[in-house]
Amino acid sequence: MRAGVIRFPGSCDEVDAQLAAARVGDAVLLWHADPDLHGVDAVIVPGGFSYGDYLRVGAIARFAPVMESVIAFAREGGLVLGICNGFQVLCEAGLLPGALLPNDHLRFRCAQAELEVVNIDTPFTHGCAVGERLSIPAKHTTGRYYAPPEDLERMEATGQIVLRYAAGTNPNGSLRDIAGVCNADRNVFGLMPHPEHAVDELTGASADGLKIFASMAEAVDGRVVA
């Protein structure tokens, strides 16, 4: 898999995402002002504070020249992963349902999140088992997932809810403990926790996040990556 990680002004975790993706393939940085995706197999919209998170998280980044190409890429079935701020950008861009609102406690919180894999029938989670627990750090001020009730019902039915915070550990007030969702076609996936910060036990509390990148690589390359 050759992954392209977008760098917006204000991105913070783009290099971490590049290093994580490079563990299962190649990874390059894509510049926000350059609409050319340089033939990557998958796009990662990284965490950080694109455009300072000013106005509304993800609202300005969503209009960057590169995003037009990402939207087209996604419509053609290309794999797109949005992490934290990237998740917010993908929601603003309409590639994912719902929106992210300020945490119910209104503070930035950095902590290990205990996640439960709900749907493994996606290119991002098929390396996991249903109900498997993943321990992945989350760090954000605006991670409370919201979608209108009728949409939530549909998403439950169509398997678009991919990750939940383990019962009783919801760190931000997300509806139905939702931590990560995909689009109807399941080729676009966004989550608030940071899998790129859970790829090596030396600098993270676990390596569970690697499963997400490995799943993507397998989906792209059609082979299992150690």
């Binding site: 106005l55 509304r56 603003e92 929106a99 406690h105 209104l106 409370r144 919201y146 979608a147 209108p148």
Partner: protein, 76 residues
Amino acid sequence: MRARVLIRPKAGILDPQGIAVERALPALGFGGVSNVHVGRLIELDVEDPSSLDAMCRRLLANPLIEDYEILDGRSG
């Protein structure tokens, strides 16, 4: 023209900022306050006021979670 855009959380969506303000006020001796909501105020000079609505829908507000209202900057 000077315009003001008022953006508020849609009814029915939890507004923890509003709740926090509502909780803090009595402690400071301000009773009789209810129904508090916190949103955004955007003020701008715009040459073509007719473009404001589109601006709100495309960028300034997120219709899924927010309502907006455009005021003439001189009003109020």
